[in-house]
Symmetry: C2
Subunit: 134 residues, 2 copies
């Protein structure tokens, strides 16, 4: 439809940040995009990369990503079935975003040794504070 690229986003009940987060929202979308950035994957390949996800959830998240146009789904009519998931060109434009998210996570988020709990580098952000000046 060749919409004029009017930044109608300004009317969004929030801001461009929220707008983007809308598409990344969902428990597994971040990881999925992260892995697909590296290359096409089959359904069960993805599943193995996300040990904790259930089949149902993986399917759901992939369908949503597909509907957004960020990920493509290609079915090969063979048996056993072969379905490949890949980033679309539009999806690839998210690369800088995913990289920014990953970089921050690497620098500031830790798992407590015991379990699954996350924690921020709140202990004064010793080393990281340098990055602040840069």
């Amino acid at each position: 439809m060749s919409l004029p690229r009017a930044k109608l986003v300004k009317n969004f009940p929030g801001c461009p940040v929220e707008a983007t987060l809308t598409y990344l929202d969902g428990k597994w979308k971040g990881v999925i995009l992260f892995h697909l950035m590296e290359g096409t994957l089959r359904f069960n390949e993805l599943r193995r990369k996300l040990p904790a996800v259930t089949q149902r959830m993986l399917t759901k998240q992939l369908r949503e990503l597909e509907e957004s146009g960020l990920v493509s789904r290609t079915v090969y009519p063979v048996v056993p079935p072969r379905v490949e998931y890949a980033m679309t060109p539009l999806g690839m434009t998210l690369k800088p975003v995913i990289q920014a998210l990953a970089a921050w996570g690497d620098d500031y988020v830790f798992c407590s040794p015991e379990g699954r709990e996350l924690r921020l580098a709140s202990d004064g952000l010793r080393a990281p504070v340098a990055a602040l000046k840069a």
Copy 2:
């Protein structure tokens, strides 16, 4: 506790991307951070910037951001009450992330003229495709 900055994140049931998203997750956190990046705001100032948020939700989201250590809350014991919210140094490290999210939102997310519905620039990403090669 001066944890060695071991990247325990590698054990996270997802990846650094998910880890970061964990902290941005919540219907209003993105917008709040976006606005606080520009400077300290009082509770009702924020509220005016987010016409659609309810008092209860704004409070909740702010408390969560405070608990993460991304935002600080300063109470001035005067009457009427005065409470100021500001980014912490740790919160400020999110700036590149917020900027990346905002940039992508600006470029690729549109509101349909009618209403509140979001849509991606899926019509072939005409202009944006150039950015892909860069």
